[in-house]
């Protein structure tokens, strides 16, 4: 009987087929006590390796006979890591050669592994060295937003960033192809064109004839093109006015209000008129009740809130002799309406009549964007040359994220001066110099300049560099003013913990979810996944984006509320909108479900309606934690069905940090007696093939975990049947651990929380540093993980420990 395995695993966004053709499990003799390299190790090498890998021309340029003792092995760690990898994966020795038993291989890899581990515990600490990191697309966008103050996705056209070690922010891996530099140049031009307008357009004037103003009705009297505002005239019940018009202003700023009016009166006192600006209820200078009471007109009440810009005495008494009223509208009042109102005449005065022909709005007075003013602000008492220096020095401090040297500033000033000499305006010259700065490697890369780049001695990075490491880790962006100020005063290191807490509370910390979490959990493929529409007609774009949003909001709460990172494995809350709640069969915020027994109903739930996400209590529910979120359940499935292998592998890789070995070459097909195996349920097919010892060894770990999630279909809906067959969501893991269903599976994982926290620490440290971890990081990882556990697994504890660790705060030269 031939049995083959064909099972599909998730390697990341692309799926690789992995057929585990493992070495048959044989009866293993107990290893002798304390095996060492010189005896047992060398014996293994002699028997299985050095026939090919030795001598003058060893295969694959790998001569294993060079390694006579443990010291020699420790010196060439890279080679031995590869040896271990291929042995564990069963790639070597090649199938044509006699195979060692699994036990023999394990014993040998343990000897080498223990050797390294023992060495690492006693070796001199090594903080490693991070290769300078190019800003990736997200970092570029956020940095421009924070540097210039314009949020408009300038990196949209950049090619996608290279990914290594699971993340898109790894210095060694991020390349700079010519086409990207071309885009950087174009983006810098666009950004600075938006930021600075050397020749601001003329201030627009928007006028309106009063026949078009409000209140509009056929009853509102007009006379020769003038709107007539009456104040309780004899025999007329109508009290018209104030008349007003709405303006939609593009941005906040100072405006000028104008109106053309004259008035008729039989009295002796002057006729008074006010220009009003509709504004926010809490705007400074908003009219009080008393002020409003002074004004005439039925519409005064409905016009509020407004502010009285200015009150005028109208001199003009005929159409030919009008008054031009003018008043300033201050910035920052959320201006939206302009109105003209008659002021009530004094007691005893006869009712005046006001005629209004024209209302107009001029502004904003300053047509330069806020970024222009912010970037070019300078001391007006200085000479133009000094102003150039002031402006460019301030800009480069923030753009290069460090104070610049005098020679650097001199060069940039010269560049601006050359533009001035060509006859350009000062604003254009500065704009040009700033554009150049945005194309400089000093901006595009996070360079950590080093006076001793080749010294192996570990030392602290400087405070500005620390500020950038912090801000790009937690915000994916440049440091803010507070971080810069602490760095300037050299007080950042002393205030690390406080700063971490402050930064995590900032809305910018959502970048951790957006960029770390989605990559760690490998959620990106969800954007392109296409569940089979015939099987899952309910899957649509709304549901897809709701899935992503649930996971993001879930993590945002963990970060914001500083919850335990164990919530990731199992939590009693989540966030749902109506689409996702329906998908989960959840009816309200108390977590009650469709068809639930009335006796078990939890009280106090509000129905979940619309696209808005609400927090839902999951206490006692089958859901809770990322493993039961539709996002993860969908990315770990095939379009048409679940894949227990992918799900199991995902748990091993992303949560436990114990990835199964990569698949061996020469993948056999899943067939039996020459015919493809397609009969039976998925689980039956898989179990059939696991009876083959060749497959069992590698698949036992993955499949068992995946079976525990079989109650969730390929898009994460709960089910108790697959077709006609009942779902069996029990599983067994190596070591005889058994469980039944997702809830027990989560308990199994919680029992492995040390592994999980270590895995999370490794992923977060990789992301924070922007480099792959090395053996010498092991101690730091263990220290961070242990301290996190001690602090009740709080997220902030994890981050605080991490940023105070040696690899984050220190570095050494390249060639130790």
């Amino acid at each position: 009987m031939r049995l083959f395995c064909q099972f599909v695993l998730l390697t990341s966004s692309i799926i690789a087929v992995v057929i585990a053709q493992c070495t048959p499990v044989a009866v293993v003799a107990q290893p002798k006590a304390a095996p060492g390299f010189k005896t047992d190790g060398v014996a293994f090498l002699k028997q299985h390796c050095v026939k090919c890998h030795a001598g003058e021309k060893p295969k694959a340029d790998l001569a294993l006979d060079r390694f006579a003792d443990e010291a020699a092995i420790l010196k060439d760690r890279k080679t031995w890591q590869r040896v271990l990898d291929v042995l564990k994966a069963g790639e070597m020795p090649p199938p044509s050669r006699p195979q060692p038993t699994v036990g023999e291989t394990e014993a040998f890899t343990k000897i080498i592994g223990d050797l390294f581990e023992q060495h690492d515990r006693t070796a001199k600490p090594d903080p490693g060295r991070v290769t300078m990191r190019r800003l990736n697309r997200n970092e570029y966008n956020y940095t421009i937003r924070d540097l210039i103050g314009i949020d408009f996705n300038p990196a949209e056209d950049f090619p996608s960033d290279d990914v290594g070690h699971g993340f898109d922010n790894i210095g060694d891996v991020l390349t700079l192809p010519p086409v990207l530099l071309e885009r950087y140049l174009a983006a810098a031009e666009t950004v600075m064109q938006k930021a600075i307008t050397p020749n601001p357009p003329k201030t627009p004037v928007r006028g309106i004839g009063t026949q078009f103003t409000e209140p509009a009705s056929a009853n509102v009297p007009m006379k020769n093109g003038f709107r007539v505002v009456l104040f309780k005239p004899d025999g007329t019940p109508v009290e018209t006015g104030p008349i007003f018009t709405r303006y939609k202003v593009p941005e906040d700023g100072e405006y000028i209000a104008r109106a053309t009016v004259f008035a008729e009166t039989k009295g002796t006192k002057p006729v008074k008129v006010a220009l009003l600006a509709g504004c926010a209820p809490d705007a400074k200078g908003v009219a009080t009740d008393a002020e409003a009471e002074q004004l005439a007109g039925a519409a005064v009440k409905s016009l509020r809130p407004f502010m009285v810009l200015k009150t005028f005495e109208v001199k003009g008494r005929t159409e030919k002799m009008t008054d031009a009223l003018q008043a300033d509208i201050p910035a920052g009042i959320a201006f939206e309406k302009l109105a003209v109102a008659l002021v009530k005449p004094e007691e005893g005065e006869p009712a005046p009549t006001l005629y209004v022909k024209y209302i107009s709005l001029e502004g904003p007075r300053d047509m330069r964007p806020p970024s222009h003013r912010k970037l070019l602000t300078c001391d007006p008492k200085k000479t133009p040359a000094e102003q150039t220096r002031e402006v460019l020095e301030r800009f480069t401090l923030r753009a290069f994220r460090r104070p610049i040297e005098k020679v650097e500033l001199d060069r940039l000033v010269q560049l601006a001066d050359r533009e001035l000499a060509k006859g350009e305006k000062w604003e254009s010259a500065i704009q040009f110099a700033m554009t150049a700065a945005l194309v400089s490697p000093k901006f595009l890369f996070r360079i950590e300049l080093d006076d001793r780049p080749n010294s192996p001695e570990p030392r602290a990075i400087d405070e500005y560099q620390l500020a950038s490491r912090l801000s790009y880790f937690l915000w994916s962006s440049m440091p803010d003013d507070e971080l810069f100020e602490l760095a300037r005063k050299k007080q950042l290191t002393a205030n690390l913990e406080l700063q971490v807490k402050r930064m995590l509370r900032d809305p910018k910390a959502a970048a951790i979810t957006e960029h770390f979490v989605t990559q760690w959990l490998q959620m990106q493929p969800l954007r392109n996944s296409r569940p089979d529409p015939t099987r899952f007609p309910q899957f649509d774009e709304r549901l897809r984006s709701a899935m992503v949003q649930e996971t993001k909001l879930f993590f945002n709460e963990i970060i914001r509320e500083d919850r335990s990172v164990l919530d990731v494995l199992n939590a009693d809350f989540t966030y749902l909108n109506s689409a996702l709640a329906r998908h989960y069969g959840i009816t309200d915020t108390a977590g009650n479900t469709v068809g639930q027994n009335a006796k078990t109903r939890k009280p106090g739930g509000q129905p979940i309606r619309g696209d808005q996400f609400v927090r839902v209590n999951l206490g006692g529910s089958v859901r809770g934690g990322v493993l039961t979120q539709a996002s993860i359940l969908t990315v770990t499935s095939n379009p048409g069905r679940t894949s227990p292998v992918k799900r199991g592998r995902w748990v091993l890789e992303q949560l436990l940090g114990t990835p199964p070995p990569p698949p061996p070459p020469d993948v056999p097909e899943l067939e039996k007696d020459g015919k493809p195996v397609t009969v039976g349920t998925l689980r039956q097919q898989m179990e059939a093939h696991r009876q083959n010892p060749a497959c069992a060894n590698c698949h036992a770990k993955m499949d068992g975990l995946g079976f525990g999630l079989e109650n969730f279909d390929a898009i994460g809906a709960f089910r108790t049947k697959d077709g006609d067959a009942a779902i069996d969501s029990s599983g067994e893991l190596p070591g005889g651990v058994t469980f039944a269903g997702p809830a027990e599976l989560k308990q199994v994982l919680l029992a492995k929380k040390d592994l999980y926290v270590k895995c999370l620490t490794e992923k977060l440290l990789t992301y924070a540093l922007g480099r792959g971890l090395e053996y010498y990081d092991r101690r730091s990882v263990e220290k961070i993980a242990a301290a996190t556990a001690k602090n009740n697994y709080r997220f902030s504890a994890l981050v605080s420990e991490l940023v105070q660790s040696d690899p984050f705060r220190l570095r050494r030269g390249t060639n130790p």
Binding site: I14, P178, L185, E671
Partner: protein, 445 residues
Amino acid sequence: MIPRPVSRRTALKGLGVSVALPWLEAMGPVTGWAAGADTRNPAPNRMCFLYVPNGKNMADWTPKAEGKGFDLPAILQPLKGVQDELLVLTGLTADKARAHGDGGGDHARALGAFLTGSQPKKTDGTDIRAGISVDQVAATRLADKTRLPSLELGGEHGAMAGNCDSGYSCVYSSTMSWRSATQPLPKEVNPKIVFERLFATKPNAERLAQDARRKSILDFVRDDSKELEQKLGANDKRKLSEYFSALRDLELRIERAEKLPPVKTPDYKTPAGIPANYEEHIRLQYDLIALAFQTDVTRVVTFVLANEGSNKTYPMAGVNEAHHELSHHGNDPAKKAKIRDINTFHTSQLAYFLEKLKGMKEGDGTLLDHSMIAYGSGNSDGNAHNHDDLPILVAGKGCGTFRTGRHIRYAKETPLNNLWISMLDRMDIKVASLGDSTGQLRDLT
């Protein structure tokens, strides 16, 4: 963006699906050779490499008969109209896509080795390495002839996460072009950006002024960054030199643009972005390749229709299962039929492209006569992951250097790279070898 004349926009509705495009020939010649048979100024030869992932259903691809008048199995059926323009080449091998001790990862290696003939280094990031690809050999040699040395297109974004195939970086399974052994070139998936890159949308005087400003910025940043080196470690320096090399490239491109005649922007609606419909998407990209060749903006194009190992579904071809997973069909006839349908979908799109080129008159023939369009995959049967007997065809007469309309069977293990150096030779680029090539392919002329 500056609006351009829109005289024929109405005719362009539904673009990329079935409506014929108003090609430039209708508006007068864009290039010297487009006008008519000018023996002093013959049309140049172009090369284009099209990659489809996950191998083929080989039984429905390989013709039984050799030579002229060969039979067209199901997958080649859509190409019936251009059969006389084809050379179906059976028996070629991408040996460097094989494991050679590196274990799993046939998808990553299949694309990584396809145009390079070099064994991609198994790494998930830090030290990526394959070899220079055939298109980049040509691009380097032809650099001063056209405004863009080459164009790299894609039909699917590069994968965003970690390692993509058994410990290989995602770069390998999503990139076809290698400028050097260590520098993969990213592909452009968005037709809008491709169009804007091909055709400057600014008036010439404005563009020249912009180029002058850009040059002065590039001068400045280079001078201003030199001293950084002293304070950088070895890996940092490597990154900085990557920056300087990109900078030099950009300067050269600007200098070239000054010397070359301005490119006439075709009367073609700027694509709005990436169409949601995949068929529309790849037809737009095909249109842009045709335009790029016709206007001579470039003579070298690569187009990865989908990443190697792609799990795209093809509902338009009646396939709702993921491509890669299906390709491991385990000899299940139903799955094999679906693979055939995906393969046939792709050859239908190829037919669209070839017919487009054939319909574009140029000098004494058509654009297709002056092109070499190579099409295929670095995997043969997706189930077996074998890299010999690859599905490969070349279309176009290569300026009279190909005797087309034939099926040729080569000896087993004939390197695929032999085809590539044969194509280089037809661009007047003589190289002794490339990757694992052993000499030129026989019998093409």
